[in-house]
């Protein structure tokens, strides 16, 4: 199912606005318990450009790597940092409590906000954004590990998805794209 949603991104014919196309297939409003409130919505951050990533704090390799990239982008922004909101949504609510998300994310920046919720809520948001997160069986002592996508989503000041950044995208490119949205 999520694969199907994800593949729609690939075939979607985006409408163009400025440099970055508006992705009409992915994204949308969500309201979840967060590190800044009992229920925070994407629309609470209207007016800010949003960098959004999905992951889990027990992830030893991919997630901290991606969050380090987000932190590097935020650090490059300097004066414009306050106009950009970094967000992290877990897909592992059993282990990722609000408290754990708070402690985990402040390491990457005081302005990082974490979201959790029920498994149903989080699965719904993951579907909206075409995120793949499949708990995998393994004999590893790490317990549940996830097969997951690792895009960083760039949302404009109206909360619309404007880009998905992969590992191959440079910090400079991400900063340039953010700045182009801030100029819109």
């Amino acid at each position: 199912m999520w694969l199907l949603v994800w593949s729609l991104w690939v075939v979607a014919i985006p409408s163009w606005a400025g440099q970055l196309p508006i992705n009409t297939r992915l994204g949308g409003e969500f309201s979840l318990p967060s590190t800044v409130g009992e229920s925070s919505s994407l629309s609470d951050f209207k007016g800010k450009v949003v960098l959004l990533n999905f992951g889990y704090t027990s992830c030893p390799d991919i997630c901290p790597m991606v969050l380090n990239r987000m932190a590097a982008v935020m650090n490059e922004l300097e004066d414009e940092r306050s106009k950009v909101q970094p967000m992290f949504i877990t897909f592992d609510p059993k282990r990722d409590t609000i408290e754990r998300l708070q402690q985990y994310l402040k390491y990457f920046g005081d302005d990082f906000i974490g979201f959790t919720g029920s498994e149903e809520q989080l699965a719904a948001v993951a579907r909206q954004y075409g995120v793949i997160a499949i708990a995998q069986k393994s004999d590893s002592a790490a317990g549940t590990l996830y097969t997951h996508s690792d895009y960083i989503y760039l949302l404009d000041r109206q909360g619309r998805v404007r880009a998905l950044f992969a590992k191959s995208d440079s910090i400079d490119k991400m900063v340039d794209d953010i700045e182009s949205l801030l100029e819109d």
Binding site: P60, I62, R69, A71, I132, S140, D150
Partner: protein
């Protein structure tokens, strides 16, 4: 392709006997938030001998378990898979790097601080072992280093 550099930097613990034909380059462990139970370690391992070497186990005192894993693209996502062994052909080298092969430290006994060094021992099928120290790094430059690794 993954490149193994020519310049070698041998990291050896004083007093640890090791095979001179196995060399480790650029070892490090990612520092993670103190609340995070797991992290990963990386290095390049050169086999300068004329025989294939097989890495069969890894161990360290800093975590309750240490495993070898790799990351493969699967079902449109990145999937972590445990490795029981890693073969290094004669004269070849293997990379342990973010988003690829890595040493997984599971259940850290205490948070690792930047500047700490983690002792890791590699066990080979032929009975040899190799110990090394991996400096703990924040790796702010990680993103810059790895932007060309996606194919």
């Amino acid at each position: 392709m993954k490149m193994c550099l020519v310049a070698l930097l041998l990291v050896v613990l004083p007093g640890v006997v090791m095979a001179s034909d196995l060399e480790v380059e650029q070892p490090w462990v990612r520092s993670v938030p103190p609340v995070s139970p797991n992290t990963a370690g990386y290095f390049m391992l050169h086999n300068n001998s004329k025989q294939e070497r097989v890495l069969v186990a890894v161990s360290s005192d800093v975590a309750s378990s240490v495993e070898m894993h790799t990351v493969v693209e699967q079902d449109g996502g990145m999937s972590m898979q445990q490795l029981q062994e890693v073969k290094i052909a004669a004269g070849d080298c293997v990379m342990f790097e973010p988003g690829g092969n890595h040493i997984m430290f599971i259940g850290l006994k205490q948070p690792l601080q930047e500047g700490d060094e983690v002792k890791l021992t590699l066990q080979f099928k032929d009975g040899e072992s190799l110990s090394m120290l991996l400096p703990v790094k924040r790796s702010q430059d990680e993103a810059h280093q790895h932007q060309h690794h996606h194919h």
